[in-house]
Symmetry: D2
Subunit: 354 residues, 4 copies
């Protein structure tokens, strides 16, 4: 590992040429603590400079600093202590384990290890204390480093909004129907012929992930991870939106709450990143809009730089107790941004390898 006395900590981005990889490169461009020192991608790109290998598809231009980085192969050794992984599921398992074993802190977006009993699944505002599980992971796996995962984009947006309700009133059941953005499927992803004038009422494995990941996020760690004791029933749909997952949520509460009490819980909620003043932390993790027709992806997905969950339409539910709509930026808060915030948390807690 390279030293980084006082300077920005060098980080590697794995899967750097894909959609989420590009978002990592963008979000880290002017980061006060981290500096992209290594970009890693598949054979096809390796050896080229990043500016040439990555077909850049974000609105703002590619950061200049990244443009000339030479793309490394998955097999090359990395010198950065921290690796952000946007690897596809098929290869994530092996590569992330190898890096963790070699002593790197791996912050992963892949689903491979999310439900692993030794791996923390962390939203910095929701279950920052789960990073305590790192020690046990190192022991059980025999690794010098470790893996921390963030969840599925839909589960993160949902869980950020559930946490204040769970803390204040106790959740007893969650129904959620999603309207998800096409960027969630990566590139090339969903054919335009499938999306124009259409809704696709199915996203493979998404409903299962939402259910189990939300319960791990809101569960506890006490030597082992215990899932929260409520059910989540999800229906996942793809709609013609670039970025921003919209979710219609209904909750059953252990202790009844009025609409105003729920709004108060959403708005007063702060997590560990807000306490620590982490650079990527939104001032308020859950923002509530009062207009009757918000949140909307095109208007609200960039709230707090895309790092907040935006809630609206809080109202009573005639079947469960309360319902609301929540929106989150799926490639920022739901992916790259979540990992970056987790890395900031780990640094602030003194848990990054040096």
């Amino acid at each position: 590992m390279s030293a980084h006395n006082g300077k920005r900590i060098p980080v590697a981005v794995l899967g750097a040429t894909g959609s989420v990889g590009q978002r990592f490169v963008q979000l880290l461009a002017d980061h006060p603590w981290f500096e992209v020192a290594e970009v890693v991608a598949s054979d096809r790109s390796a050896g080229k400079c990043y500016g040439e290998a990555a077909e850049w598809r974000l609105t703002a231009d590619m950061p200049d600093a990244a443009r000339n980085l030479k793309v490394k192969d998955y097999d090359e050794e990395l010198t950065s202590p921290v690796a952000f992984s946007a690897l596809p599921g098929e290869v994530a398992g092996e590569i992330e384990a190898r890096l963790a074993k070699a002593g790197h802190a791996v912050l992963s977006n892949a689903s491979t290890y999310r439900m692993d009993p030794d791996v923390p699944l962390v939203i910095a505002e929701v279950n920052a204390d789960h990073v305590k599980g790192i020690e046990r992971q190192k022991q059980n796996k025999g690794w010098a480093g470790y893996i921390i995962t963030n969840g599925n984009c839909t589960a993160i947006t949902l869980s950020l909004s559930l946490k204040p309700l769970h803390d204040a009133f106790g959740l007893d059941g969650v129904m959620v129907t999603t309207m998800q953005a096409i960027s969630g499927a990566g590139y090339p992803g969903v054919p335009s012929l499938d999306m124009l004038d259409n809704v696709v009422p199915y996203i493979s494995t998404e409903e299962e992930k939402m259910s189990e990941e939300a319960r791990k996020f809101l569960g506890s760690y006490d030597g082992e991870f215990t899932l929260a004791d409520f059910n989540v029933s999800a229906s996942c749909n793809r709609v013609m939106v670039r970025d921003g997952h919209t979710e219609a949520v209904s909750v059953r509460l252990k202790n009844k709450a009025t609409v105003d009490e729920a709004i108060e819980a959403f708005e007063s909620f702060r997590g560990r990143p807000q306490e620590l003043g982490l650079p990527s932390a939104p001032k308020q993790p859950v923002v509530v809009r009062r207009e009757k027709n918000r949140p909307q992806p095109v208007l609200d997905r960039d709230t707090s730089g895309g790092m907040a969950s935006v809630v609206g339409r809080v109202r009573p539910c005639d079947i469960l107790d309360l319902k609301y709509t929540v929106l989150g930026h799926n490639t920022v808060r739901g992916a790259a941004g979540a990992s970056v915030l987790n890395a900031e948390l780990l640094k602030a807690e003194g848990l990054l390898p040096s």
Copy 2:
């Protein structure tokens, strides 16, 4: 009223130049029983020929027979015994009542009289027996004719799918999240700036209508209308789809049912229109798709000429009992087509004025 000995029954279309009005004109063009004899619209159009007054926005060309009809004003007397109403809510109340009083059978798409205790709200397959209420309406209102309403497009699609479940297992609660087409808002309707790359999580009064209308459809008539005794909780959203409302539904049942039993209930369901062999009746009111990613608006909205509710993804729900997705063509089955089928039912039952 004009005589129609053996020939097709002359009908009037009210609000004939709007979206639903055009759909009426299209659906009735080759109808075996009815013939569009009068088209009625606002001052602006009155006096012109229909071909000139209606800016035609359906894919197929305007029917030739309609092209040269002279558009009548709302104040003119009508000679057709049957009037299909696509009037906007602001004017429907007064005009429809006047026509009913004068002896016409008014088949209305407007929301004005749907929940009126004297007015049947009818889906021909769901509650054909509610037409018995016509007699009481005539007496109570002192009208020579009557008004029959069909419901909100979202409520019709939902209720068609609920009916077989209610009959077989008894409904105890319904949660539904809709993804509704832009044609539901009429023309000009929703600005393109609001729909491109966006979801609008609110449609005015839609959630209330879904709840109360579904319960009236599935309720009973025994001298008066009694609402079905289950709650419906709806979340309504607008998505960038031309035609076809998609609804993610979850139901709690009085008598538990397996997925296979529910599918069997959907597929074996037949109503009065199927018994009577009405011209616009779909062979099967509820069609079940087995593919994991259906129904989809662009592929399934025209099933049975747009007159069927298409169900898919029937599966268990961890909060209520079962969940599924249902799709219906909002301007055909959800509007003009529903009225036409109701008129066919009334004719077959001998209830049309002559």
Copy 3:
């Protein structure tokens, strides 16, 4: 070859599971002269029944007759005298030649042989006389059968509109900017991330094809094919439209014409299919709309079942002479429908093998 005494002529569809292949199966379902007897696709599909192999993506349901046809491999011998080819370019060359050699009439959508000096490139209304080239093709290639190609979808729509102008006034130059539908790229085709809220100002090899094919269509055959002697300059763009290519055209004429004279030329134009009364021939190959804002894909692409070129906005051009907008259905008139009409022409002219 199978006999077909009085009955419908059996035909094969090559590449039957793809977008254009499905369109062939749909258009031929109720054809008075032809009957789909064989469906042919790649290894992946071969051996399955068509209903299972083809993921059907057209709005209307798959024709029942096709559902149970067993999909043949590209290597199997065919018994139908006529083969409609929707083969991808990579394999079309070899397979189509093999079938032509074996005595089949191959009606191809592939670009491989379009500019071959021995192969007629035919729009039935534009250059029906080019089928005379079949004899020379058989001799030169030593084939028992032959290949007839129809052109690129954009070139067909354009050329149908150019033909009346060329006949009446003589073309001296053509500028065209296209706004092309996504179905032109097949399935999966263009990623939704590239099309949402976007225009892609480039389609590989499309501009070259438009230029050379238009000149072959409007050229002459006199023992060999001579290109028409005007230039075509094209700019091709992809826009978010499912079906229907819109083209903004400007022409320089040898003999000047007024707008009214051009409209008269468009509307009075008839070709050989109209003379012969072929089943798929539109009554009028070029339809002119007078409204100031037509043609539009969603309103006009299905004119005459998608077989007409729809022209509008005919007006003077300050740089060349006249300009107008033309719209054509790219997978009907621009692909499968064009081949079917060509086959009808060949049958009527007595040129189909038996």
Copy 4:
């Protein structure tokens, strides 16, 4: 007029609640020279605070400084020396003249005065010298202040790209086909039913404006405005894009140029704003992309904060001489941003009233 010794110059925004008005408020939020001191709108909004009156529809949040400004009525006197006008055409004529008469510098987006022989129509990089016409305007109109207009959004984007070619090679004719964004029609603007799966091949008066405005921009001022002596033939289309007009351009040149020479002319072009280092000036007014499929609205409209015209696909034209695609952000460079840059030019040239 209020004094502004050393501080930011107070400015008024007319039509402040509309689409372009909101863009003005956004672009001026952190402006080094100007400060929004007054927001003016119609009766309906007047008297409310801006945060309440303006239904904000831009992605980033409404600037805090604007939120509490009280909206003034069109009839109230203004104290700011500079007024940016986003007024609708119906009212712009009278109100702008009244303000100019009263001594204000009015920077207008309305079309009313663009072709007025006394009013400069200015793109700061293209014809900065036309501001010399202000003196004559004041005399002829008898006004204490003056009106400067910027052009139609499509004409600005086009003219920025034409200027370097005109300077280097002399233009002899221009053909252009546009694919324009929906934001160009304001809000509510184009109905979603007209844009979904569609192209609208007509925009009222747009083709005429492109032609005459381009020739005024590239014309000369010598006591009076002389139009440039080449023809422009435009075909204008609306496509489903939020922001960014794409234009396919073909030019005939007086002195022939190679593709490389044209690219060199585009890239080396600098105007007066670049010389003066104006705050809103893009470093390079015309940016050339080398990729074969650029510019694209979603990727390139925000180049240089939306202030550059982005050119791509420069290549020979077989009818005229050269063709290319140009893209510009219609509500930034094509509207509010153009006015702001003009105001900066006027300030730098010492022409603003104090």
